[in-house]
Structure formats: structure tokens, C-alpha cells
């Protein structure tokens, strides 16, 4: 097995080429994205960690199986996120559960910064409200907000992951932010 340290200096695209010659190099790629994708899958599906790990396994296997389909005109991260997104959506449908968002401490801070939210209230209540507010949003807004503010993807990357026009992504983010704020304020108002 390839040591991941030896892959650190290599770009994703270089690792793709190496993986196609020797599958062991794919370990470096999957390791590089393991944590990010696991968090992403959990965020958009609210699966348990175990379920999300199962989904992620499938993501890696599909990624490897389709590795020749990767085109360097696209960022590798966008490509693998797209596979993860499709796989997560497919898993959500199979489980017939309404996807909700799960946010951890770091996510909360990111959201707090972006939306300039109150941070001196009880953190757990705040988090719960954000969690509910996000979960109440329509899926199309929720997924762009997660990708933009939690996974910190730019508009083009989000467009590539969701296969939507860049202009549509921009509009969804703009509208999603407004709707999220309204939803959040409504919840805060109710609880106060």
C-alpha cells in the first residue's frame, strides 16, 4: 500500500493518473477526501455516521470505476463531490427519509459568521435553531447553502457538483440566504 505522506505533494490530477496505472495510489486520493466527503454526506442526509460511511464506500468505488471519465477541465474535487452528491441523494431516496441537516460546532461558527447570527445565546439552542431552519428549507436551497458556506465551494464548483448553470447557483444562494434568515428569525421569535 502507498504511504499517504508520499502523495501529499501531488495534485489530485497527478494522483488520478497514478491511480490508473496502479490502483494503490487511489488510496491517497480517497484518504484525501474521506473526511470532507463524510461530513458532506452527513450534512445533506443526516444519516448516522455508519450509514454515511457505507455511502462513502460506494462513492469511492464508483469514483475508481469511472476514473477514466474524469476530465481535467473539471476540478477533481467538483467531480468527486458530484458523485458523492448523487450517491447520497440516491441513498436518501432508498431510505425514504426527508433529508435534514446535521451541523457540528465548526459548521455553526461558519454559519454564524456568514449570517452574522447571535452567538451569545446558548450554543446548543442556537445550533438547534440553525439546524431546524436549514432543514425546513427546500432541498434546492439547502444543498447550495451547505456547499457554499460549509464546504466553502465557489459558484463554479457548486455548478459543477450540482450540474446547474452558474447563474442559477447564484440565484439559489441569494434566495436561499434570504429564506434561511426568515426561517431562522421565525424560529427565534417563536422560542423567545
Amino acid at each position: 500500500m502507498i504511504e499517504t505522506e508520499s502523495c501529499d505533494s501531488k495534485t489530485d490530477e497527478e494522483l488520478v493518473e497514478l491511480s490508473l496505472r496502479n490502483s494503490d495510489h487511489f488510496f491517497c486520493l480517497s484518504k484525501r477526501y474521506e473526511e470532507k466527503l463524510l461530513r458532506y454526506i452527513i450534512r445533506i442526509s443526516k444519516f448516522s455516521r455508519e450509514d454515511a460511511e457505507d455511502v462513502l464506500q460506494e462513492v469511492f468505488i464508483k469514483t475508481y470505476y469511472n476514473l477514466n471519465g474524469f476530465d481535467s477541465d473539471l476540478k477533481f474535487s467538483s467531480w468527486i463531490y458530484r458523485i458523492a452528491h448523487n450517491e447520497a441523494v440516491s441513498a436518501i431516496r432508498k431510505k425514504v427519509v426527508r433529508p435534514t441537516i446535521y451541523l457540528d460546532e465548526t459548521d455553526l461558527e461558519k454559519f454564524g459568521d456568514v449570517f452574522d447570527m447571535v452567538k451569545d445565546v446558548d450554543n446548543s439552542i442556537d445550533r438547534k435553531m440553525i439546524d431546524i431552519a436549514l432543514s425546513n428549507l427546500d432541498e434546492k436551497y439547502r444543498e447550495v447553502l451547505v456547499l457554499r458556506f460549509l464546504d466553502e465551494k465557489d459558484y463554479t464548483e457548486i455548478a459543477d457538483i450540482l450540474k446547474k448553470p452558474v447563474s442559477t447557483v447564484g440565484n439559489l444562494i441569494l434566495r436561499g440566504k434570504k429564506l434561511f434568515r426568515l426561517e431562522y428569525e421565525k424560529l427565534i421569535g417563536v422560542t423567545v
Binding site: M1, L20, S23, D24, F26, F27, S30, K31, E34, E35, L38, R49, E50, E53, L56, Q57, F60, I61, Y64, Y65, N66, L67, N68, G69, D71, D73, L74, T156, A159, D160, K163, K164, P165, V166, S167, T168
Partner: protein, 240 residues
Amino acid sequence: MGNKNISQIAMDRIKEDRIVPISRNIFSIKRVLFWVVVATSFIVGAFIFSFVLYALFNNDWYLYDRLGLSLVFRTLPYFWILSLAIFTILGEFYYRKTLLGHRRGLVVIVSIYLVSTTLFGSIFYAIGFGDLVERSLSDVSPMYRSIVLNHREVWSHPEEGLLSGRIIFINENEIQIVDSNGYFWIINREGTLIRGNVEIEIGDRIKIIGSKVNDNLFRAEEIRPWFGRGINNRNVVIMH
């Protein structure tokens, strides 16, 4: 992070199940095919636009005084306009399936497609492509021009003074024709203006402007060739 090493498990499965990546050629062929469909729909679209231009430029606009706005609705090249719409949708659909095609919005893609087909279609029309294809198709299929340009409908209203048909008999003062519905007509051609390349030969197809006298007699004021506007070359007035 849990105890499980997901990457390691995935690697183990890849090795155990002997999973190998799908051949690069499969993806290349798929990509090329999408672009071929996009390019084809664009080229066909440009040709279609040249036919639309041909149809518009060769329409019987001189009938406007007689028919008014109904001429526009009766003679718009609906067949080609519909075809252009279908190829635009096809081009847009497959362009989206190309690697970066999803990045542009519907309006942008359709606008670019229409502007390009307009530009190239105009060039095709200018170099005579529309005319060439129209004439070729008309020669191959006599029904073509009638259906595509709605000519048959426009020229099948003797009560409005518009008649067309194929010449079956000629003498000094009369022409006999069979119209598109299979009816015989005797055309009185005294003092008739003959426009364009009308040869007045048996078997030719002609358009006649005039007035209906009775169910099989029509007084001609003007005879034009079926093909084209008949404003070029020679104009002859037959006086008897």
C-alpha cells in the same frame, strides 16, 4: 471519525472484487457523440434557417393587398419554423450533456444557438443553398412546395381570385388546368399578363390571379410560374 478506515475498506473491495476502471475509450466516444449531436443540430439548424429565409423572400407578398394579414398566417413557413425549434431543443439538450455544458443557462444557450444559426443560415441563403435545396426538393417531390410553403392552400381559393394548377390543354384564348383538388378549370387568358418564366406549355404548373366566372370558368388577369415570384425576366401581355 469512527474506527473504520473507509478508504482502506474501499481499497480492499476494489482489490477483492477485481474492479477495474471503465475504458477511457467509452467515455471518449460518449463525449464525441454528444458533440456530434450538438454540431449536427447546429448545422441542420443553420440550413433550416436558410430555408426559412428562402420561404420568406420568395413568398407571394404581392398578394398582401388582396389577402391582407391572412397572407402572413397562411404562408408562414411553419414546417421549417417547427423544425428549427426541434433542432434548437435537441442542440440545447445535448449541449448540456457535454462536460461543461451545464454551466450556462437555458436562455444563454438558446440565444447563442439562434444567433449562430441565424448568422450561418443567412450565409447559406446568400450563397444560394436555400434556393438549391428548395428547387431540388420540389423537383423530387411535387407535394413538397405545397406542403412546406402552404402555396397550395393560398392558391386554392378561386372565389378570392387565386387559382393554381397544371396545364392540360392550350389553345389561342384558353388554357385548361387541373387544380390541386383535381377539378378542371377553363382559363380565359385574353388580355392576361404573363409574368416571369411561364412557358404556357402542357404539364407546367401555374398560379393565376383573376376572377371566378362559374364553377369551371376562370378569367385570368395575371399568370405566374408556380415556382418563384415570377417578377424576373420577361412580362408578356397576350392581346387577342
